[in-house]
């Protein structure tokens, strides 16, 4: 291949030689482990094929669950694909959107960014665990959301609701601004933020009255 063989008008922009060099530089030739969770950042990561699953006990929504888990498996994947608890959503796979938010010992965490092995022996709460198991009554946060007609497409709703649950435990008397900060780790692409904040404020109000 000749030097700077032009393949486009602007040779600096589009020479075949520099393009191929660049492709090699970004490691783009046919894929990478990035195909699982996305993005070329995982180039060079070792494949998990052949990695051994281990049977562990997870405490989810107050119940001990025995489950086989890979060493690199995230809590969100374990919940969704091993325990069939699909209320926890995957929106980005990488701590960008909060759709997978769950509580670990009452604190909100991104389920996509915790390894399942990390939460052994800790209390995991998901959206499925909020209703009263005996009466089926909705949690205070869920009641507040229902009253205020919260959410549009609601793919983000489970994550937001878990963050609201965490918020009212820490700060049951937030200002609207404090509530916005408490929920700022969750994205809503319908941008129903105003109504979501109203739900959070109503949830805090209900929590205070209990």
């Amino acid at each position: 291949m000749g030097d700077a063989e032009p393949v486009g008008l602007l040779e600096k922009k589009y020479s075949r030689r520099s393009f191929i060099k660049g492709v090699i530089a970004v490691g783009a030739t046919a894929a990478s482990t990035g195909y699982l969770l996305g993005g070329p950042l995982a180039v060079g990561a070792q494949s998990m094929l052949g990695a051994t699953e281990r049977l562990i006990t997870l405490n989810v929504n107050g119940q001990d669950r025995r489950v086989d888990v890979l060493p690199n498996e995230t809590l969100a994947m374990t919940l969704r694909y091993r325990l069939n608890m699909t209320g926890t959503k995957l929106g980005c796979d990488r701590a960008e959107c909060g759709a997978c938010t769950v509580l670990i010992d009452g604190v909100n965490h991104y389920g996509c960014s915790l390894l399942t092995h990390q939460v052994r022996g800790r209390a995991v709460t998901t959206i499925e665990g909020l209703e009263n198991p005996d009466t089926g009554e909705l949690s205070i946060v869920q009641q507040a959301v229902l009253e205020e007609g919260g959410f549009q497409c609601a793919f983000c709703a489970p994550g937001f609701i878990m963050s609201m649950e965490a918020m009212i435990r820490v700060n049951p008397n937030p200002t609207r601004e404090e509530a916005a900060h408490a929920l700022s780790g969750n994205l809503c692409r319908c941008a129903d933020y105003d109504k979501i904040l109203t739900c959070a404020m109503r949830a805090a109000e209900l929590a205070r009255s209990v």
Partner: protein, 806 residues
């Protein structure tokens, strides 16, 4: 009296499912034997697959099979296939692997050796228009019928170029007199500019923006007894069923489409999506259910984007502020498979500045960037965001208040606009502006404009954004069953607008029912769906309040006839209320449960065994399936209208611009809409704010950035092209509606989905320009870097018309 339903807040019937995690989106289904598909994506913007070695992958334990491009439908020209051996954008799917787990499928992808031959590519449409410039396809940059083609000749590839002379003008920042692909004009443009008191001229860039719904376009499919069961993420349902049937080459009646929930689409999942074909075809090949989970990274590429514009505009004004001429030229970035936002952009410019004299020219070019599609307010949102700061600039030069400028140039009800002289069913744009100005306190806040405190300068903006808001002629299909309840069968989608239930309210009101006597049937084609609008183009509220109104009117007639036949007298003697039909002024009556049973006994048109002749052929199978199950109301919307239906949104924003960091803080926002009768206030407010905030993200934070050398994108995740989060929007947001019914639709309601986007974006672009003393940057996104470079007078490090910077 049954309760009043229109104009009240009623939570949608699926809200409990949504907030308990029970709502099942397409990734939440787990049929027995389900396997996972994973895609191999093109690493280059344009290349050809010279060879593929799949032997290592196929030898892996757990790998089931591989699907290649030659096994999926392919068409000539720039027409997208779900898999291709000649990718035309980085991230385009090349092949799919099926394996028992997603991990194994992903590992198998890594074990496939693909020999890609890099090919020339182009990212910026202007580069493709330059003489000698690269083309997105090896064959050319345009696939169209040649100018000298005979009728019936197929389209052919063309290398469409502008001249060196055109580029002398372009490089000097002026509008070229280059050959357009679309052109129309009205009035006398030259005379308007010749006699103008002020001419404002600018070159403007509007960026391309990815849709990024929260739910990526994950789909799952399997086959049973020759039928395709497709669990898909789609904005529509009834129309999606037909789309996927066509894409995989089967009869629509052989598709069972399940899409009860959709995690957002914004125009990127209108009906069939391209990747939807992969699990359908792969599951047929391997005879097992296939889940194709689309990651956020993949969604960034395959998930569609709003086309970017590069444009030149000249606007002529009289000294009293009236715009008398618009000359607009748009170059549209068409992506790998083409787009067509520019037409609407031209018409909307004519609508909101009412110049009477206008020339519109446009060129849309194929580029090696991810595919474009309609995005909430396609064309309209871009042009409003681009041109409103120009109107404000003219106001400053003429010494006229910007709200006054907006009012002077806003359309009246008798407006006629665009290339076809479109008239509208109702226009209350000025009322929306007046109401918004009052809520925002525009007059009282004037003294804040340009005020500096510390490093922060306040700016205010006002904008008017219209968009189409309703179609007509679809079918309604409802049943009163022997349980006495009304079942409204909806073929529209459930993507969070609440129209799935809100458009059923007129049917309940006509039949005199409380809301708890109404069941909405949706999201599963096996339950029967009438021919419906695609859930896009802000059509649904208008189209399906009408269709359900028509079906309920048909049902009410039948109910009265049954009552009269059973109890005597004339049908007109009977009224419907609280689930009963009874003689006016008291007397004999029947419950709806009795009416439904009587309808089934009578048969004929009463229970759907005889159908009206004018309903759509796609409604017929659904109605036939439901015949005999109750009293059927089925009808086509024949109400008609004269002109088009448009909704308007007036947006007002107050921002603080930090002149040391370039960061813009949106402090206040007010949005007021003219969308006719308000059906569901709380949901309307959410749509209005949501659309406006999406517009703010489009104007400020989201972006596409490519490495020009290799054509690969940098801003390919949410954190590098971030949509607005909770802390990016004002805590103080207010909305209202003019609330004047549209006279040409029986319920009076127009759509709301799209017009807010332009209002949010343009209120922001005008407010930022105001904070900068009236300087218009004339590009989006207005990131801190770009703003700061302007404030500091630095070389921005990109060309005046460069696309994909931020």
């Amino acid at each position: 009296m049954a309760e009043k339903l229109i104009g009240t807040d009623i939570a949608p019937p699926d809200l409990v499912a949504k907030i308990t995690g029970r709502a099942r989106y397409s990734e939440d289904f787990r049929p027995d034997g389900m396997v996972f598909a994973k895609l191999l994506l093109s690493p280059m913007p344009h290349c050809r697959v010279r060879g593929v070695d799949v032997s290592r992958a196929l030898a892996m334990e757990g790998v089931i099979d591989i699907l290649r491009a030659e096994e999926v439908p392919q068409r000539e020209g720039p027409r997208e296939a779900c898999l291709t051996d000649e990718p035309h954008y980085e991230g385009e799917p090349v092949l799919a692997v099926a394996a028992v787990t997603e991990e194994i499928a992903a590992t198998a992808i890594e074990a496939i050796d693909v020999d890609f031959e890099p090919l020339p590519f182009v990212l910026d449409p202007l580069d493709s228009l330059r003489p000698g410039g690269p083309t997105a396809y090896s064959e050319g940059n345009r696939f169209a019928r040649l100018p000298d083609a005979e009728q019936g000749d197929p389209p052919a590839w063309i290398d469409f170029k502008w001249t060196d002379t055109d580029f002398v003008e372009i490089d000097a920042g002026r509008m070229p007199n280059a050959e357009p692909l679309v052109e129309w004009s009205k009035g006398d443009v030259d005379a308007a500019f010749g006699g103008a008191d002020l001419i404002v001229e600018d070159a403007i860039v509007h960026q391309s923006v990815t849709h990024h719904p929260m739910e990526p376009r994950t789909n799952m499919a399997y086959w049973e007894n020759g039928k395709l069961f497709a669990h898909v993420s789609t904005q529509s349902t009834q129309r999606t069923k037909a789309a996927i049937a066509g894409a995989v080459g089967i009869d629509p009646e052989d598709v069972v489409l399940i899409a009860e929930y959709c995690g957002g689409g914004f125009g990127s999942k209108i009906a069939g999506t391209t990747v939807m074909q992969i699990p359908a075809i792969l599951s047929r090949k391997i005879n097992r259910p296939v889940m194709l989970r689309i990651t956020r990274y993949e969604e960034n590429y395959v998930g569609r984007a709003r086309p970017g514009f590069q444009s030149w505009v000249k606007m002529a004004f009289r000294s009293d502020g009236k715009c008398t001429g618009v000359d607009l030229y748009i170059v549209e970035e068409g992506g790998a498979y083409g787009s067509g936002d520019n037409g609407t952009a031209g018409a909307i410019a004519d609508l909101i500045y009412t110049p009477q004299n206008m020339r519109f020219r446009a060129v849309a070019m194929l580029t090696n960037t991810p595919p474009k599609s309609a995005q909430r307010g396609p064309g309209g949102a871009q042009i409003v965001s681009m041109l409103e700061p120009i109107l404000a600039k003219a106001g400053r030069e003429l010494g006229i208040d910007r709200l006054e400028m907006r009012m002077i140039n806003a359309p009246d009800p008798d407006v006629v606009f665009g290339p076809r002289g479109t008239a509208l069913t109702s226009v209350h744009a000025k009322e929306a502006l007046e109401k918004g100005a009052e809520i925002f306190d525009w007059a009282g806040k004037q003294e804040l404009s340009g005020r500096r405190e510390g490093t922060k300068v306040t700016g205010m903006g006002v904008a008017l954004s219209p968009y189409t808001a309703g179609s007509i002629g679809f079918d309604g299909l409802i049943l009163v069953r022997p349980d006495g309840k009304l079942y409204v069968h909806q073929g529209i989608g459930n993507l969070g607008t609440h129209s799935i239930s809100d458009t059923a309210r007129p049917a309940a009101e006509i039949l005199g029912l409380d809301w708890d006597q109404v069941e909405i049937v949706w999201g599963d084609s096996s339950r029967g769906m009438p021919r419906s609008a695609v859930q896009a183009g802000s059509q649904t509220t208008h189209a399906h309040t009408r269709a359900n109104h028509a079906a309920a009117t048909d049902a009410a007639r039948k109910i009265r006839q049954i009552a009269a036949q059973s109890l005597g007298g004339s049908p007109n003697d009977y009224v419907l209320d609280n689930g009963r039909v009874f003689r006016r002024g008291g007397g004999a009556g029947m419950s709806f449960a009795q009416v439904a049973e009587r309808a089934i006994q009578m048969g004929g048109e009463y229970d759907g065994h005889e159908l009206p002749g004018d309903i759509h052929r796609e409604t017929v199978p659904a109605a036939e399936m439901l015949a005999g199950e109750g009293l059927m109301g089925v009808a086509k919307d024949n109400y008609g209208r004269t002109g088009s239906t448009y909704t308007f949104v007036a947006g007002f924003a107050l921002v603080e611009l930090d002149v040391e960091t370039g960061v813009v803080d949106i402090k206040e926002f007010v949005g007021v809409t003219d969308c006719g009768t308000v059906i569901h206030p709380r949901s309307l407010g959410a749509q209005l704010f949501g659309g406006c905030i999406q517009g703010m993200g489009m104007a400020m934070t989201q972006r596409w950035v490519f490495d020009p050398q290799y054509g690969v994108s940098f801003a390919n995740r949410l954190y590098t092209a971030r949509p607005p989060g909770m802390l990016d929007i004002p805590l103080d947001m207010k909305w209202d509606a003019v609330g004047i019914a549209d006279p040409q639709t029986p319920v009076g309601a127009k759509g709301i989905g799209e017009p807010p986007v332009g209002a949010g974006a343009a209120a922001l672009t005008t407010a930022i320009a105001d904070a900068m003393g009236g300087r218009c940057l004339c590009r989006t996104p207005l990131t801190p870097d770009i703003i700061l470079a302007e404030l500091e007078g630095r070389d921005p490090a990109f060309g005046r018309l460069d696309q994909h910077v931020g």
